[in-house]
């Protein structure tokens, strides 16, 4: 479990990182927190010729709300995500990532770029309809969550492209639920529910190669709560529909049927939590 040989380049800026990656063709890799990449290297499942360390690139650790959106520099660590209070859903989700040691190094962009189908942050990005800012050899571009994730561990990013910033709209209401085998494990199945105005989005992790978006067709939030009380049967309907809509695979940690049952339950919990979230003053929900 030792990495194969590679050249190491400590990038001084975004342009330097991109230029180095560009020169390396498909042989370069960004090193951020290293919490996914280093194990992959140690297992010799990837053997990039050049590692471009972006940890010393200035200006990638900012965190600020502009308008209704939280803007995060690529290097913001999971620990910071868990501790901030501008985006409570993000904070909750980040607390489910690994253990303290992992959270103190892992980065928001690293998790999105790694695109593990069971990871928390890709689901949150999709549930918030967020996007990433990407620097490349040509111009910079903005990639929406729906386009970013292409398959398990696969993104739309080119070999010399780098995420510089993550844009995460702050939802008006949210719910998060995860089923994992142990504390700190990747999810077996997880669900993120968000409400923006009267639109509800539910994203399920762990059931497909990419986070799975379910948008309950007629699920306006006023149907979820009546006089402030959560409508359990309405929540159950959404959960049942979500479970019917997934085609999970079987693996060591659960059969397809079990995953479907888990889907129903985590969606139920997430949507129930969403429905129970006090509504913000900006989008009052009719009683």
């Amino acid at each position: 479990m030792k990495c194969p040989p590679f050249d190491y380049h400590r990038a001084t800026g975004v342009a330097d990182a991109v230029a180095t990656l560009d020169a390396a063709g498909d042989e370069g890799k960004i090193l951020a927190g290293g919490q996914s990449l280093v194990p992959v290297l140690a297992l010799r499942m990837a053997r990039p010729a050049v590692l471009v360390d972006i940890n010393h690139v200035p200006g990638l650790s900012s965190l600020e709300v502009r308008g209704d959106t939280l803007h995060l520099g690529a290097l913001v660590r999971h620990l910071t995500l868990a501790e901030q209070d501008q985006h409570p859903l993000l904070a909750e989700a980040a607390r489910w990532i690994g253990h303290t040691a992992i959270r103190s190094r892992g980065t928001v962009a690293g998790s999105l770029a790694h695109a593990d189908p069971s990871a928390e942050l890709p689901s949150v990005l999709l549930a918030c309809d967020g996007a990433v800012q990407v620097a490349g050899p040509g111009a910079t571009r903005r990639v929406g969550a729906a386009d970013l994730f292409v398959g398990a561990l696969q993104t739309d990013l080119g070999d010399a492209e780098m995420i510089t910033e993550v844009e995460l709209p702050v939802p008006d209401g949210w719910g998060f639920s995860e089923f994992a085998r142990r504390h700190g494990d990747f999810a077996v199945v997880s669900a993120v529910a968000t409400r923006f105005g009267d639109r509800i989005r539910v994203v399920i992790g762990g059931v497909a190669g990419v986070p799975h978006l379910v948008s309950p067709p007629d699920s306006t939030p006023d149907l979820l709560t009546v006089s402030g009380a959560v409508q359990d049967d309405r929540v159950a309907e959404i959960a049942d529909a979500a479970a019917r809509g997934v085609e999970p695979a079987s693996d060591l940690h659960g059969s397809a049927d079990h995953r479907r049952a888990l889907t129903r339950e985590v969606v139920r919990r997430a949507v129930a939590q969403l429905a129970g979230t006090p509504t913000s003053d900006r989008t009052p929900v009719p009683a």
Partner: protein, 787 residues
């Protein structure tokens, strides 16, 4: 003249003295094999077979040899290794002896078997070189299941055993068929237990260096058994035993995995002999460990039991298969698990009619070896499953049924149907205390409340067990091997300054043996705990010890320490008596001072006595030799049984299968307790490992013999987050050995399988036949009961 004697010195035993090793281990100053750096040291990486069963048709090392930093590549056919085989021996009739090469020769028998070894400047280069070794294989049909029908075996693992059975033995007592015929109820169970392993934090590690001028080999090894390693190496390497020095420095956990001499160890030593003067280091990584260190506990039991109407257990009939893996583990043999299973299946229950056939079956999987609790986590699960089935069939309370059958103090010594002699009888005392601590009535009420009110189903599970510890020559661990592991030695040396150095044959992998030995010697000798220093783990320093396994060291090593301490105390008092012209029978040694009966003031210090013994021979009385030390062996002849009971209350989420542990109680009989915190630590750690095996840890092979749980991402070990608050209680009935202790290292692992599976059955009314119990398995079981 004063007549008041001073208050007796407090004894070191029985108190939670500061652990001797903590200053080192808790401040990052431990000295492990991987910390060792020697001049001209090189590093080794093994090339491992990707296939479970195949002929090796060719090995091309040319590219590896050209790799940067690589200095040598060894294969199984290298002259240094080609004639050496590890051969686990047993005198049991019908046992099939087989060879295990240090590096595969001609054929590979499991995925992960070492085929070649690359020596390089560092481990990175060694792994680069390993990638350059080109091995061609011709696949054979693999067999991963130990209970496959013989027709399914097309290519036997070893030619010597066409049916893959390396060992089979039937235990018999009474007349099982007749007893079953008379039973009021007969119950049948078929259970399997999950393969898992010890997984110490420190994986295997070794450094070997050979000096050609004096033909001396030094082997630093993270082993639990340095003396066994030395003896076995002497034979395998054809060196005089005195020319081999095995050093086990600090070792980061063992759990039995490191009580084995591995082919990699032997290969490392042979390669070092082929490269004299060059120290070779191999530090195993986790991937190698999961793949190729010994596994354990993959068993199947087909069981039948008969009970009388009043609940008396009349007969047990059992067939057991233990997956021995690809090789008969060295030197313990493929008998280690099956023989323990057959010998202890009936546990703490009285039984006259017993028939049990056990088999050790070789397969194309990593070899099985000793793992904390050897076989008994599986047998306790099997036996308690029978008890629960019996209780259901008789409509009897499951705890009352167990109580009806327990071996009681009046039955002691009790000869089990396997002819092992139980000296404990503390089962009922443990059960009573455990039930009270647990609050059974309260949990039963909560269970009813939930059944009526619709809360998560709650179940109560129980496991009652006996741990056979500190085995002497009459009950020695292992199946009729060429050595009997009943004794250990200890040397107690008073230094010229009066302080004490103990050279003990015990070894420690974190369980505080330096502390325990110091406590025992301090009390036996009559010095303070702080005056005693303990040396362990170096075969050139201490005389002899078999090492850490079978919960033996506190009993046997502790017994030797006690005897040696007493012996040297006698010597010191004799010398003091002669020096002071006092009658020796009136003298007492306490806290390093010699007292005369009835006097409060010491008449001479141990330091003064020692000074005379070493430095002032002019003062030595007639008939006294210089020096002040002594060595004693101890063998308890039989063993000490340690009773234990665990109870758990668990809840199950019907929607997900999630398992919540609400309460866990363990009451054990550790005999006289030397160090309360160490004892509780052993119990807590072993319960945690037991829970790991019951609910998380599972080494899974696919049909082709690939390990699908090759990293800790898929092989789930419990973290502190998964282990509930444990309530531990003690019933201390001293054993008949010098210190009164019973072994405590393994017992905790024995019950969790039974507790967790029993709780599922109790909560959901379904029988659990297969382990581990996971959310997925609970959920699947629930689909059968709730339409």
């Amino acid at each position: 003249m004063t007549t008041t004697s001073p208050a007796p010195e407090p004894t070191a035993s029985g108190t939670a003295v500061r652990r001797k090793e903590d200053a080192r281990l808790l401040t990052g100053r431990g000295r492990y094999v991987s910390d060792l750096t020697l001049p001209r040291m090189r590093h080794v990486a093994f090339v491992r077979s990707p296939l479970a069963h195949a002929h090796i048709t060719s090995v091309d090392v040319s590219e590896a040899l050209e790799t940067d930093g690589v200095s040598a590549v060894f294969t199984g056919d290298h002259p240094a290794l080609a004639s050496v085989s590890l051969r686990a021996q047993s005198g049991l009739p019908g046992y099939v002896e087989t060879d295990q090469p240090p590096l595969a020769r001609g054929k590979v028998r499991f995925a992960g078997e070492a085929v070649a070894a690359v020596v390089a400047d560092d481990r990175y280069h060694a792994e680069d070189g390993a990638e350059g070794v080109d091995v061609e294989y011709e696949p054979l049909s693999p067999q991963v299941c130990a209970w496959a029908s013989p027709e399914e075996i097309t290519d036997p693992v070893h030619d010597e055993a066409p049916d893959n059975v390396l060992l089979s033995r039937t235990f018999r007592a009474g007349d099982v068929e007749a007893a079953l015929a008379e039973a009021a109820v007969v119950v049948d169970r078929e259970v399997t237990t999950n393969r898992h392993g010890g997984n110490p934090i420190e994986c295997r590690a070794g450094v070997a260096r050979y000096e050609i001028a004096d033909r001396k080999l030094t082997f630093w090894s993270g082993t639990q058994v340095p003396y066994i390693v030395r003896t076995q190496l002497a034979g395998l390497l054809d060196l005089p035993e005195g020319n081999i020095r095995v050093i086990a420095p600090d070792v980061g956990g063992g759990f039995g995995v490191k009580a084995v001499l591995y082919p990699e160890d032997v290969a490392l030593c042979l390669m070092a002999m082929a490269m004299p003067g060059v120290a070779l280091k191999w530090v195993e990584d986790r991937v190698e460990h999961l793949l190729s260190a010994t596994h354990a506990r993959e068993h199947r039991y087909v069981l039948r039991a008969g009970f009388a109407a009043d609940g008396e257990l009349l007969a047990v009939k059992a067939d057991a298969w233990c997956n021995a893996g690809a090789y008969s583990v060295y030197p313990w043999t493929a008998g280690i698990e099956p023989l323990m299973a057959g010998g202890l299946l009936t546990g703490p229950y009285k039984l006259a009619h017993y028939e049990c056939t056990v088999r050790g079956v070789t397969t194309n999987t990593s070899p099985s070896g000793p793992y904390r609790g050897v076989a008994r986590p599986s047998t306790v699960f099997a036996m308690e499953a029978l008890m629960d089935s019996g209780a259901r069939a008789l409509e009897m309370d499951p705890i009352a049924l167990r109580r009806r059958n327990l071996i009681l103090p009046a039955d002691i010594p009790y000869t089990m149907p396997s002819r092992l002699v139980d000296d404990s009888g503390a089962y009922e005392a443990c059960l009573d205390q455990a039930l009270e601590t647990f609050g059974l009535e309260g949990w039963r009420a909560e269970q009813q409340r939930r059944r009526a009110g619709g809360g998560k189903p709650l179940g109560i599970g129980i496991g009652i067990y006996n741990e056979l510890t500190g085995l002497g020559r009459a009950a020695s661990a292992g199946p009729r091997m060429a050595f009997r592991t009943g004794h250990d030695a200890c040397t107690v040396r008073i230094n010229p300054d009066g302080a004490v150095t103990v050279f003990s044959g015990v070894t420690s992998q974190g369980q505080g043996l330096e502390t325990t030995m110091a406590q025992v010697v301090a009390d036996a000798l009559g010095v303070t705990y702080d005056a005693v220093e303990v040396r362990i783990g170096d075969t050139d320093e201490s005389l002899w010890g078999f090492g850490a396994f079978s919960s033996r060291q506190a009993v046997i090593g502790g017994g030797a320490a006690h005897l040696a301490g007493e012996h040297v105390r006698g010597k010191a008092l004799a010398l003091a008596a002669a020096l002071k012209e006092a009658p020796v029978e009136d003298l007492d040694l306490r806290g390093g001072e010699v007292y005369m009966a009835g006097q409060a003031k010491s008449i001479i210090s141990l330091a003064e006595v020692a000074r005379v013994a070493y430095l002032q021979s002019d003062r030595l009385p007639e008939g006294f030799e210089p020096g002040l030390e002594g060595t004693k062996f101890y063998d308890p002849i039989r063993g000490a049984f340690a009773a234990g009971v665990q109870l758990g209350a668990l809840e199950f989420d019907p929607a997900t299968g999630e398992i919540g542990i609400l309460s866990w109680v363990c009451v054990e009989d550790a005999g006289r307790i030397v160090h309360p915190v160490i004892v509780d630590g052993q119990i807590a750690g072993s319960i945690a490992q037991g829970i790991g095996g019951a609910m998380y840890e599972h080494l899974v092979y696919d049909e082709a013999g690939n390990l699908t749980t090759g990293t800790l991402l898929d092989y789930l070990m419990p973290t502190s987050g998964e282990i509930p608050e444990l309530t531990i209680g003690h019933v201390s009935t001293p054993a008949a050995n010098p210190t009164g202790v019973r072994g405590v290292g393994e017992g905790g692992t024995l019950a969790p399988n039974a507790v967790v599976a029993g709780a599922v059955a109790d909560a959901l009314g379904v029988e659990v036949d297969d382990l581990p119990v996971t959310p997925a398995s609970v959920w699947t079981l629930l689909q059968g009961v709730t339409p």
